[in-house]
Symmetry: C2
Subunit: 498 residues, 2 copies
């Protein structure tokens, strides 16, 4: 099936919108008439991992659940497109056994042996190419690359003589040490200013490229504390970051994983769903009678509870009644800063499989790695750009091709580009969450607050792997449990049976 | 409530059996008559974390479930006793956010801020005391301790120039690299023999004490591959091991965590339970009519499916019909090797809070740390012995007190001992699972196999954090899902409602 989302470019066909995905759901609905099928126990708005998890948990627990999704597919900001027998990850990709919620699901769905490594240094060029200006490259071994980044990241994170362990001992309880607030309020730029004299030019370029790869933002608007949070979640080491952030992916692509949640929920017989159904308003002012969700096309759905998984940067497009609390509104209006551009390039040099590169700050794609070999024998490179030097990859393909080429001039010709422009996606308005300075300390609690019959859940305000697939599952799990506790576990049925 | 399990000794009262625990369930049953309450959808045998997880998942999913437990309490090999306002962990203790299944439950039950660090080096003696003979001690800083163990463990694990990453890239898929089989078949002693010339005396003593702490066995009967598996799960580093294995515990004790599962299951109204009810036989030869479980006291219970969570070393005490498969029987007969002795000592020296020690090989307790400060202002030391120099702590308290004293001669007087003798416990017959050489490659698949209507689940044969609380939850989750898929998700009810 082909989604309307995503773009592909080849020299032969040029730029085309829409790529195939296992995540597309067809037909887009299994309900005919809202009067006949409702009222629902729960409506879940959004079919990303958070919504899928909540939907799965609620249907398994016996609740009649309606899933409303704006797109034609499941997965939200994580989905894959299988093109010519090769899976391209359009958004969230990597997982690791140190990510508790996603790994719990991976073992539960018996996919622990369905993962592949991104890095493969067993053949080909086997080097790291650092470009700090458009006229030259420095080549290093991957061991030297690791040492460069390890050294730079240790300087960056070492605010307490213990690489953050003292100021952030419990990353899920971020302000356990109240002093941590000051790091949350500090920007990347401010932290770099504190350590700039300790950094070599190569360390500084690599460090900035790496931390901007994490935030997708700019040095001035990315929170240093949020990076420290990723760092603590990863075990306070560079190797932990590499392992958790960019090492292991699903052999068949993310959408194969998302479908497991979907199929389990469908299999209960308790799931109603409507895809291609963006929501206009969520009204909860009927005195306990339920929450009414109205779609853009005017259809109305009513349920006892709503789980709203709409991302932070999109929340302000929905009308809520009664009005949301101030903390939520101010966070929604500020938005998170991640304007990452992720571009896949299939290139005609098989030896690039073992290549990694940083081109910063001059290039519009700053970090890339050899991520696979396509069935045609070409190398698949995955390339990242950030808001610090932003590109809209669909607007001028020549400029996108130039940015890919600048990563390793003369090393390859591009046979294919595949990407999703998350910044222009009206249902995402950016990539994974990354905090502005002070945003987490100021707004996290407020974002996690329920609002009458509406439970808000999204990786954007998870406690652990916030921004990750793991955080989405954490939040979907939380939301389902809130509803489960409130609506009971179908006590009346039980009593009838016991 | 006081459990029959566990021992306490004080100078005033001497040795007494049975200590208080939040995990005791009273009254011990909520069913009156098997004819009236049965038949059950599922019987879960065993109320440790594996059984509790399966029970919780199954009752939430709508199944009428009966939990049978031999003891008077939940928690199995993980439970805590709160004595004079201080929790002593009688078995499994430590958790970390890199342990996926247990951490998923910790966040789900909102206990992410209910943890405390074991180590506290902020005051007191603040040193590591290494004793390789009974006549002298070497004192080191904790930094030097870390460097000693890091160096030794890197030599021990570095079979591939990559500290195990190459031979064990996917620890949940242990024989992904078939060559790994040879490490699984290798004993600790054989591996030490390979590297003995690279190890200093202090490295070798510390290393042996540390790896025996992990296995609870002897150098000759502990599998090197199983240690590499722990190492890989921990991120292939010494620091990762310390973080995951011995750093964070529940402020209120394990039993406070176990109760969350219990209360959720009870709250569904679908749970029947009988404590103090050891099982005698499990019979599944009635041609699809169900599985019959008979208790030692002759009571019979029938269910469509049985989830059997009895530990490996106890399985052979149960009569199964039809007979179990050869692979299971041979693993049951061999048993795992962990004969760990864990002894808590409350000592009258508050400065020991920041002490750690290894006394090996001469002493019957080889590894200990300052683990807390009791309300009386004393230091709580947690001390471990292994089968390599075994002690039965309840048999001769003077000998136990001597072994505690030998850890740091002259440094303290013992005010209290608290322990559970897992080796003599008829429902455990050892502590956490640790593999003999070749046992995992030979028996793991067989141990995980179902047997007709009986699903076998236990941390002893988990794929990930095997032997850990995490592995127990992994297995309980798996078992519940198997049953859920087979018995359906109560389709008939659903259709009636939709």
């Amino acid at each position: 099936m082909t989604s309307r989302d995503g773009y592909q470019w080849t020299p032969e066909s040029g730029l085309t919108q829409g790529v195939p995905s296992l995540g597309v759901i067809s037909p887009p609905t299994n309900i005919r008439d809202t009067d006949k099928d409702g009222p629902w126990d729960v409506i879940v708005i959004g079919g990303g991992y958070c919504g899928l998890t909540a939907t799965r948990d609620l249907t398994v627990a016996g609740f009649k659940t309606l899933l409303l999704e704006a797109r034609d597919r499941i997965g939200g900001r994580s989905w894959s497109s299988n093109i010519d027998g090769y899976p391209y990850e359009m958004g969230g990709t990597w997982v690791h056994w140190h990510q508790s919620h996603v790994w719990r699901e991976i073992t539960r769905y018996k996919m622990h042996n369905a993962l592949s490594p991104s890095f493969n240094f067993s053949r080909g060029v086997n080097h790291f190419q650092l470009r700090t200006n458009p006229t030259s490259s420095t080549y290093m071994t991957h061991e030297a690359e690791d040492e460069l980044l390890r050294s730079a990241l240790h300087k960056f994170t070492n605010v307490d003589g213990a690489n953050g362990r003292t100021v952030l001992p419990f990353p899920h309880d971020m302000f356990h040490v109240p002093e941590f607030r000051k790091y949350d309020e500090m920007s990347y730029a401010e932290r770099i200013e504190q350590i700039k004299d300790e950094l070599s030019l190569n360390e500084r370029s690599s460090l900035e490229a790496f931390i901007l790869l994490c935030s997708g933002g700019r040095m001035e608007n990315s929170s240093f504390g949020e990076f420290l949070h990723w760092w603590a979640m990863s075990g306070y080491t560079y190797q932990g970051c590499m392992d958790c952030l960019i090492s292991y992916k699903f052999t068949e692509g993310q959408s194969a994983f998302a479908r497991r949640f979907w199929e389990e929920a469908v299999g209960t017989g308790r799931l109603g769903y409507v895809f291609e159904c963006p929501v206009r308003s969520v009204v909860d002012d009927e005195g306990g009678k339920g929450v009414r969700v109205t779609a853009r096309d005017g259809r109305e759905f009513v349920a006892k509870r709503v789980v709203c998984t709409i991302p932070l940067n999109v929340l302000s497009t929905i009308h809520f009644s009664p009005a949301l609390a101030t903390e939520k509104v101010s966070a929604m209006q500020a938005g998170h800063v991640n304007m990452c551009t992720k571009v896949h390039a299939e290139v005609d040099n098989k030896d690039m499989r073992s290549w990694t590169g940083i081109s910063y700050p001059f290039n519009k794609l700053c970090y890339a790695i050899g991520d696979g070999t396509t069935p045609a024998g070409n190398t698949h490179l995955v390339c990242f750009g950030t808001d610090a030097n932003h590109i809209q990859p669909d607007e001028d393909v020549r400029e996108t091709l130039k940015a890919v080429g600048e990563l390793a001039p003369g090393a390859f010709r591009v046979k294919r580009l595949v990407f999703h422009n998350w910044v222009k996606d009206e249902f995402a308005k950016g990539a994974w969450f990354f905090s502005r300075p002070g945003m987490v300390s100021g707004c996290l609690d407020g974002l996690r607050e329920r609002h009458g019959g509406v439970v808000f859940a999204n990786s954007d305000w998870a406690l652990g792997w916030r921004s990750f697939i793991d955080g989405a599952i954490e939040e979907g799990t939380r939301a389902a449990r809130v509803v489960l506790e409130e609506l009971g576990t179908k006590r009346e049925e039980v009593k009838a049976r016991l």
